[in-house]
Symmetry: C2
Subunit: 384 residues, 2 copies
């Protein structure tokens, strides 16, 4: 990347860590063998693949054979929903991947509160005797709000216990897409209390189109993609050895540096937030101020046109997002901002600033100064 | 790869061409942006992605926007079947990916002849008024037999015309998995006469877990994986830019060298075949001797145990396959060899030797000598 560019869109995509690429490299060339081939060099590739899955699983407190490797988070979410079926409960601030798949099932979409929090109470109220799946993202990709998953897990467990007591064998599971937040917050599956968990390598400085679905041993999955029977028959196709090794390395690296990185990002974000809020007293910071991803800042400047600001900032080398970088979002108002009740003139002036490994004190300060200048210019232009 | 190793399993997996990795590299690091992000560096990534799809499409005579990028051939096949639905016709020598998906539809499985050819006649006889999809692989992955796709296409067109004449609007499409054969034989979609075509980057010296489904403009696809709406809504998930750029480069390279490479491989294979057949007059060469992939040799040594030979050869640095390298095949007799009526004692003594870019005159000659030695040894052992 051009060194003069200041990247404030880590929630949309992250660069591949050079150590991750290094770990992947052998599986492109020297060890390119099909892991299903019978000779020793291929068996070594199979072992490397299984070991990578084991390491990956350990970062979430699971076991390698509880993972199904997928081509990213979207496929993982689709696999979770299609496997479990039945009535599903999810929230109006979820990612399109969740909302689109939910629409293909009987579903109840609950409302997040004005800070983007999905409470255990609204989930509890939405669960019906037919509910088999509750799916709530660990952290919202637009607001950075971290959900009270443990409370939601308790609600799901209470329902499960009630059903068992009355002899009703209908299962109910909790799924979370932890793509946003992985590497930054605790995603140990037992501590979260989830039955299914989705991860995305492309959000943690790993390769794109690599993801996984973890499912607890008591959850029975059903394949979406059939064929050669890879991934215990749950997802056929020659394994992505390089991608999985890279994902594993990325999660390992994230795990190691998490404590310090969280503090560092929080400090950078808080400084950035303070500078922008001081410069523009009418700025609106959305999402929950405490329960929030450390590098995440969602800020609105009422009355400005965020798309113009994104362009003006880009001209000055600062890359930021309006809403989330999802193909379906093009040119429409974010469903998340509508869901939390942001007035249209506030929503339309929203920037999502997400810090990460490319962020430094220096470039974040520079970005703050440039953003302030450009918003002042834009307001002057609008008032002229 | 260890230089002393002689790789004769190009049908199972191919090493990434160094020029392909070079083409991919920028999209791992410098140009890692999410193609759906709004700023110019991301739009450049989007352009590179679209250009790669366009180049890819040109190698098959299609257009970039007629492609859906997938995580390999298996997903592509699943997408084709799930989209078209209805009664499907396929053959008993097809890859597990096709056979497994076909089982989830009303289906007729026709029989290949003893050379592994699926004739237009058996297809014609199997088509019912409810048939919506005929799926026949361009070249069989075990035998290397190339199917008479143009004749099958004519049969499908005849049925289509008949339906239209009687006012029956039930569509009927021809799909081919061209994963085996791409880069070696003509896969121009109009010349093949197909409506849908599957390709796999991992078989043409491109990255693994990258594939595509081409569909003619008159074919309506339906998504299997829903979410952000990428690939015209047909396959959601952040795009695999590096993978697609690599696939495109791999197909371009294959196209350029095809003429010479085909001649070279054919000559190497014919020499190898002659040496083995001369040494073992009872050896059985399966598949069609003329309509066959240039680097492909399926040869059986009646009475030997192929699994022991694979191991013995591996000890001497020669990597070969028995049957196809597919997870589901482990320890069972190949369904393809059973389908073409090979006697069990012949089938169990089968090696699949597939030559490719790693093959040279020198290492193929060496391999021939080693194979001959090991089979003589094994026969002596068996007779002792």
């Amino acid at each position: 990347m051009d060194k003069s560019v200041i990247y404030l869109d880590h929630a949309a995509a992250t660069p591949l860590d050079s150590r991750v690429l290094e770990a992947m490299q052998p599986y492109f060339s020297d060890a390119f063998y099909n892991p299903s081939s019978p000779y020793a060099p291929a068996l070594n590739v199979r072992r490397a693949y299984d070991a990578a899955k084991q390491t990956l699983a350990q970062t979430i407190g699971g076991r390698g054979d509880e993972l199904v490797m997928t081509a990213g988070a979207t496929e993982s979410i689709n696999l979770a929903f299609t496997s479990i079926g039945g009535h599903v409960v999810t929230a109006n601030i979820e990612h399109h991947a969740v909302l689109q798949v939910a629409k293909h099932h009987e579903h109840t979409i609950v409302a997040a509160d004005e800070k983007g929090i999905v409470t255990a109470e609204v989930i509890k109220a939405a669960i019906t005797p037919a509910t088999r799946l509750v799916s709530i993202g660990l952290a919202n990709n637009e607001l950075g709000t971290i959900q009270p998953l443990r409370d939601i897990a308790t609600a799901v467990k209470t329902e499960r216990t009630k059903r068992l007591e009355r002899g009703d064998m209908t299962p109910i599971y909790l799924h979370t897409d932890a793509s946003q937040g992985a590497g930054l917050i605790d995603i140990h599956v037992s501590r979260l209390g989830v039955d299914l968990l989705t991860l995305n390598a492309g959000k943690v400085y790993g390769p794109k189109q690599v993801g996984l679905l973890w499912a607890a041993p008591h959850v029975r999955l059903a394949p979406q993609i059939m064929g050669g029977g890879q991934e215990r028959g749950l997802r056929s196709g020659t394994e992505n050895v390089a991608g999985t090794v890279g994902f594993s390395k990325a999660m390992e690296l994230a795990d190691k540096k998490r404590g310090n990185e969280v503090k560092r990002l929080q400090q950078l974000r808080d400084n950035l937030q303070k500078k922008l809020a001081d410069a523009f007293p009418d700025a609106v910071i959305s999402g929950h101020l405490k329960r929030r991803l450390p590098g995440h800042l969602h800020i609105s400047f009422p009355g400005i046109d965020a798309e113009r600001i994104v362009f003006a900032l880009e001209m000055r080398g600062v890359l930021v997002a309006t809403g989330s970088a999802c193909a379906a979002n093009k040119g429409t108002r974010s469903h998340v901002l509508t869901a939390i009740g942001l007035a249209p003139e506030v929503a339309d002036g929203s920037l999502r600033l997400t810090l990460g490994q490319l962020s430094t004190q220096e470039n974040t300060d520079q970005a703050a100064a440039i953003i302030i200048e450009e918003i002042i210019k834009e307001r002057q232009r609008a008032n002229a």
